[in-house]
Amino acid sequence: MSLLDIRNLSVRFGDADAPPVVDGLDLSVDRGEVLAIVGESGSGKSVTMMALMGLIDPPGVVSADRLAFAGQDLLSLKGKQRRRLIGKDLAMVFQDPMTALNPSYTVGYQIEEVLRAHLGLKGRAARERALALLEQVEIPAAASRLDAYPHQLSGGMSQRVAIAMAIAAEPQLLIADEPTTALDVTIQAQIMALLLRLQRERDMGLILITHDLAVVAETARRVCVMYAGQAVEQGEVPAIFEAPTHPYTEALLASVPEHADSRRLATLPGIVPGRYDRPEGCLLSPRCPYARPHCQTRPALMPHARGAVRCFFPRNLAAGEINPLAPGRHRRSPPKGDLHAY
């Protein structure tokens, strides 16, 4: 049984007819597994994790066929029962460490708060554990940092503190939402190495949200590529990097300097569609170099031997591996004339 099992997760803000920010997402993470989620800003990566943590407030609406963590259905849990899991078994590290810590409390207090809430530790015991945690996240002179306020720490230090807070109650699953985006390049590698070491040592599940495909290639076993609230491609990491099946994944890889074939770095024109400019058919179609008339209908996420892809005309797949144009695989049947054209 997987540690985290999400089926058909949708998150909406505002009217019921507004396009969902997260649209029918399936996701699973096993114990001790590293899953990467990649995609542009606005693709719904963070909102998905916020929904998982129960941090979506009205008017946001979260719905799912299944939102199970360690066998428990998160959606059916009452507030208090859910808070017993959140911050304990299921913890999160956020993007900007400089604003993620409360400026009014010391580092020690903010770590001890987790220990008190979830493990019942108080006083000296809590302080000793907090110190041990700071040492585990490799903060130099940890004892003197316990009484420091967040504004006295650098960004990298703050992120280490945030990580210490997140792992304080020994979570089974850690979500790291672009944990290095706000940091200096030199610090980024250190923080990633720290997260991966902790993940291995504690055999935690780790969901890594990132822009950085190089990081994905080095760290994750599986990857989920998101675009405009939908998963467009899922699969094992080496396979996807060698032969991306979705045009969007291909474009993402082409925009990485190390992967680029030509001397000029490839870009994908346009931006992720917003609420008012969502295309009728495949959400990528206005930007897709391979779009054909058939793409005016919505493709579904279709499994194949190496993963799953949401595209009528997948790349790098041998004929017969997948039959995206078969009836029932998409919401609207394609216009007949188009079928003959291809």
Binding site: L55, I86, G87, K88
Partner: protein
């Protein structure tokens, strides 16, 4: 922290001299002089008038009068009342506890209710409750103090008969002044019913005086809370699985109170200004009533130095708030 305090203290000195200049000038801009007022309505004998003016040192050029005044101040001499011939300091200290008691009661009322109302309005943003609380606070803020006081007296004292109309305590009680705070003195005196009576006397003036600060604090708390609850660290606190109450009060309100605290310091000025009107309406024997009467009598020494003392108080309170601000907000403390 000590350097921070010293720097803030240094800023007080020019403020102090500014206040002396203002009070000195203002009272002299009012037509009429103290001798005329003391000698009554009828025409004053010019020789007597000149003699009195000379005796009081009021015939000298203004700049010399100012130098005399500041010179005396620097030696700690606040002068004596032209009317009662007792020292201004003595009169001030005997009357001040009454004002302080009233102001503290008003502040307590305004802060507890204001912070609570602000937090609730912020958490229920856009709801009927939020609009109600904010509408009421705007009404309270816009209400003239004297009118609001009279309305409350009419409803609660005259119609309902729940509270007394004026004064600090019923004439039936003879309470020896120990601390000057009626609530404490009545308890010390051991007289039965005296404490309740003093409390009943305090309620209406405290509400009247606290209304404007209450409105300001409620609005300030609401906007500060709305801002703080959107902060990343509040999301972090929620992601720790803390209870909503802990998220709101420990992580939210603690940070939202920082701007509220500053406003609170500024409100002390409003409070003392309001005390003048409130004390007059409720015949409360405090500094406000004393100053009003001194202005009527052109009692230069009392007006100048009474206002100076009140101003010093406001300055000191704001200084304290600045220091507290440093304590509440570690970022300020370490900035220097």
């Amino acid at each position: 922290m000590l350097g921070f305090i010293a720097r803030r203290f240094g800023l007080l000195i020019p403020t102090f001299f500014g206040v002396t200049l203002l009070t000195f000038a203002l009272i002299r801009m009012i037509p009429g002089d103290p001798v005329e007022v003391m000698m009554g309505e009828r025409r004053v004998d010019p020789e007597l008038h000149a003699a009195a003016m000379e005796r009081l040192g009021l015939n000298k050029p203004l700049y010399l009068q100012y130098i005399d005044y500041v010179g005396a101040l620097l030696q700690g001499d606040l002068g004596e009342s032209l009317r009662s011939r007792t020292s201004v300091w003595k009169e001030f200290t005997s009357l001040f506890p009454a004002t302080l008691e009233l102001a503290l009661a008003a502040l307590l009322f305004a802060t507890t209710l204001g912070v609570l109302a602000g937090v609730i309005a912020a958490l229920r943003r856009g709801s009927l409750l939020d609009h109600g609380v904010m509408g009421l606070s705007l009404t309270g803020y816009s209400m003239p103090i004297f009118w609001w006081g009279l309305i409350l007296i009419m409803v609660f004292s005259v119609w309902l008969g729940w509270t007394p109309v004026s004064g600090r305590i019923d004439l039936l009680y003879d309470i020896p002044p120990v601390t000057g705070f009626m609530l404490i003195d009545t308890l010390l005196s051991g007289e039965e019913g005296a404490f309740t009576d003093a409390l009943m006397h305090l309620i209406l003036p405290a509400i009247v005086l606290g209304t404007i600060p209450l409105a300001v604090i409620a609005r300030m708390t609401r906007s500060a809370m709305l801002e703080v609850m959107r902060e990343d660290y509040v999301r972090t606190a929620r992601a720790k699985g803390l209870s909503p109450a802990r998220v709101v009060f420990v992580h939210g309100l603690r940070n939202a109170l920082i701007p509220v605290l500053t406003v609170l310091g500024l409100q002390v000025g409003t409070l003392l200004a309001g005390a003048v009107l409130t004390e007059t309406i409720f015949s409360w024997p405090g500094i406000g009533k004393w100053l009003i009467e001194a202005i009527g009598a052109r009692d230069y020494a009392v007006v100048q130095n009474g206002i100076l003392l009140v101003a010093c108080l406001v300055i000191l309170v704001n200084f304290t708030v600045d220091v507290l601000y440093g304590l509440a907000n570690p970022r300020i403390r370490h900035q220097h």
